[in-house]
Symmetry: C2
Subunit: 237 residues, 2 copies
DNA sequence: AAATTCATTATTGGATCCAATAACGATTCA
DNA sequence: TGAATCGTTATTGGATCCAATAATGAATTT
């Protein structure tokens, strides 16, 4: 267990080899370290990562369940090839699921505690865009705000099945709610990210008005906005 | 490996111990053999099933990913308690996902091959109800027809993410498309099952007309029809 | 009586090894 | 030349065992 793996500790606590393995494999898959179809074998991967086969086997099973790798029968595993159509479909699924979450909230209304949480969340978004431009750190800040917004929406919906259905998407590159297909310097992304923030404001406004169709449609369109990014499809043709 | 496990062979081919284990555990969970919260430990389960810990560990990991069990940290696993609200939410998620599948088909239309496959599938349904009553074997026959219809709809939609998002539901009791909350003798279930079949006919008619809103709404309402069964909620209060 | 400490136990994670099986490539036959 | 067969290799599945750690209950202290 070398320094790189120690550096992967989270919350100041060292991760177990099994956790390291799955994090490493996810990153390698996301970075395109494996060509689609290229074999990922337990033994070779264990040797490369300096662990025994057990944590690699466990990790590959989990990644298979997440749809990031597919089993080649007795021949090991392979990174799943992801097409632009796959991304398109995953975003569409995200749209209807988050739309359902928004509709549920609009139908039954927000509790005062929920309303306060959404208000605090959106205030963070307002703060990010208040000065009319983005600094370097603001992209990470927006990332955190965006993730918090989507997680809160799903949690507040009161239907855990929505979050469970979204779990696959959360691991698929660019289909996750936090996928940010940035193509330019942060300062040039102001309009792009600000548009996403305005979508958030519009959806919560519709929820507060009890306008279920508008809330649902707003979230579905918000998800589809990700499809407009050119870089999204360069990698997956 | 006793006769019971040999009897679990599928397709005339003996299953591996790992496959037996996960099938056995799924059945025990579905049958309520474990009380919610009751510990399911690797060692005790392995002894009970006559295998080593390895296939049990693999199976428990998979069942955790499916949402049927939850990890108790270093204390093992427990069958996840499922409430009526959980079932309600899962059915709602199924409704929007299958509604999305129906909408996609209505928007882009059916190919002649797809239309033929749907026609053949629905003809099987027509045959089941043609004589105006149900025989004993007709419930299994309807089960197979129903499963084929839902699978074909998702497959024909051309969006694999819909099927992937539905995978969790497929393992949740009563949330699966093939959940049949039968409460009476087969002959008495004619109206119930026939209504489901007529829903299928209406959805395909809407798809053929290119009426995307009607197709989507029809599938969502078809999923919600499962909520009307009284026995659905007896078990999960 | 309540809180704290400590020893023990139960449990999972991982390492190692062997068995079983599928896949592959070379050889042989028609 | 193509098909079939066979031997070899690569790979995963599972068994066994040990290490690490969390949980539990008893004993001690306040």
């Amino acid at each position: 267990m070398d320094d790189e793996w120690n550096a992967q500790a989270q919350g100041g606590r060292r991760l177990k080899p099994g956790q390291h393995v799955i994090i490493s494999l996810r990153r390698m898959i996301a970075e395109g370290s494996f060509r689609p179809g290229e074999r990922i074998a337990e033994i070779a991967t264990a040797e490369a990562l300096g662990v025994s086969r057990m944590p690699v086997r466990t990790a590959l099973r989990a990644l298979e369940a997440e749809g990031l790798v597919e089993k080649l029968g007795a021949r090991g595993y392979a990174a799943r090839s992801i097409s632009a159509a796959d991304i398109h479909g995953a975003i569409e699924v995200r749209g209807v699921l988050e739309g359902l979450a928004a509709r549920r909230l609009a139908v039954r209304g927000l509790t005062p505690a929920e309303d306060a949480r959404f208000a605090a969340c959106l205030a963070e978004g307002e703060a990010i865009f208040a000065k009319g431009t983005l600094a370097q750190g603001d992209v990470d800040r927006f990332h955190d705000y965006n993730l918090a917004f989507h997680n809160l929406l799903v949690e507040a919906s009161g239907n855990p099945s929505i979050g469970q259905a979204l779990e696959r998407n959360d691991h698929l590159p660019f289909a996750s709610a936090v996928a940010l297909a940035l193509e330019n310097e942060p300062a040039d992304e102001f309009a792009h990210l600000h548009s996403a923030h305005r979508d958030h404001l519009a959806v919560i406004a519709a929820i507060r008005l009890g306008d279920a169709p508008a809330a649902e449609r707003g979230m579905a369109e918000h998800a589809r906005a990700a499809l407009g990014s050119e870089r999204l499809f360069q990698r997956f043709r």
